[in-house]
């Protein structure tokens, strides 16, 4: 399996990624594209700030790719995650899978995004008009008092 794993602070070039993924031996290409939504739980989202434990994020993405390779006969796997400040409709993640048949491609793509969301050390903070919030953190776990380290 050919793989392309990237963590980038630049806009994701979807055309270039699709070109890389194309393969004449593969009848199926499946993409997952995650984009920043305009609203979350009734609040207008102005921006999403993504941050990462970069070395460990890349390592974990490679582990997810290893698992995909073991489970499905995939020809190519692309995972590109953007970090930094993203605006609504910006692409945060692009996953692409090329395989001979669609069943493997769909399953591998689903496995990749599900595991990335659960396991990869990347965090996002949503910015609203008058506040911001770390996504996924139970509200009652923290207040925002500053502590000296």
């Amino acid at each position: 399996m050919n793989r392309r794993i990237e963590l980038t602070d630049q806009p994701i070039d979807t055309l270039a990624m699709e070109k890389w993924l194309s393969d004449p031996s593969c009848g199926a290409l499946v993409f997952f594209r995650g984009t920043v939504r305009h609203h979350h739980e009734g609040k207008e989202v102005l921006a999403l700030e993504y941050s990462a434990y970069a070395e460990m994020a890349v390592k974990t993405l490679q582990e997810v790719a290893d698992e995909v390779e073991k489970r499905w006969p995939i020809a190519k796997l692309l995972i590109c995650h953007r970090i930094g400040k993203l605006l609504p409709e910006n692409i945060s993640i692009l996953i692409g899978v090329a395989s001979r048949h669609r069943t493997d491609a769909f399953s591998a793509c689903q496995y990749a995004i599900d595991n990335i969301k659960e396991r990869v050390p990347i965090w996002k903070r949503e910015q609203y008009r008058n506040s911001s919030q770390w996504v996924g953190l139970p509200c009652d776990s923290a207040d925002h008092s500053e502590l000296r380290s």
């Binding site: 396991r119 965090w123 500053e146």
Partner: protein, 81 residues
């Protein structure tokens, strides 16, 4: 022993830094470090319950011992993708 501790997500806000390097005596666990650094926080135990820890780029339980030169990370719930 010299330990580097990296902070992510809410911990960067709470501690106003993304990392520290500190000297510790021997026989410490990651949990010992966490308890000391977050000692003043009223919800320390709630935070600990939802936090994952890493040592040298590997996920480890909080009772994992630390050694000289280790890099440890406090990681709140992940939200990539």
């Amino acid at each position: 022993m010299k330990i580097r501790i990296r902070f992510f997500g809410i911990y960067r806000d709470l501690l106003n830094t993304d990392s520290v390097e500190r000297e510790y005596p021997a026989n410490k666990t990651i949990e010992n470090l966490f308890d000391e650094i977050l000692a003043a926080h009223p919800r320390k135990e709630d935070l600990k319950k939802v936090t994952q820890f890493a040592k040298n780029l590997n996920f480890v339980p909080k009772d994992s011992p630390v050694s000289d030169g280790d890099e440890v990370a406090f990681m709140p719930p992940m939200s990539g993708g």
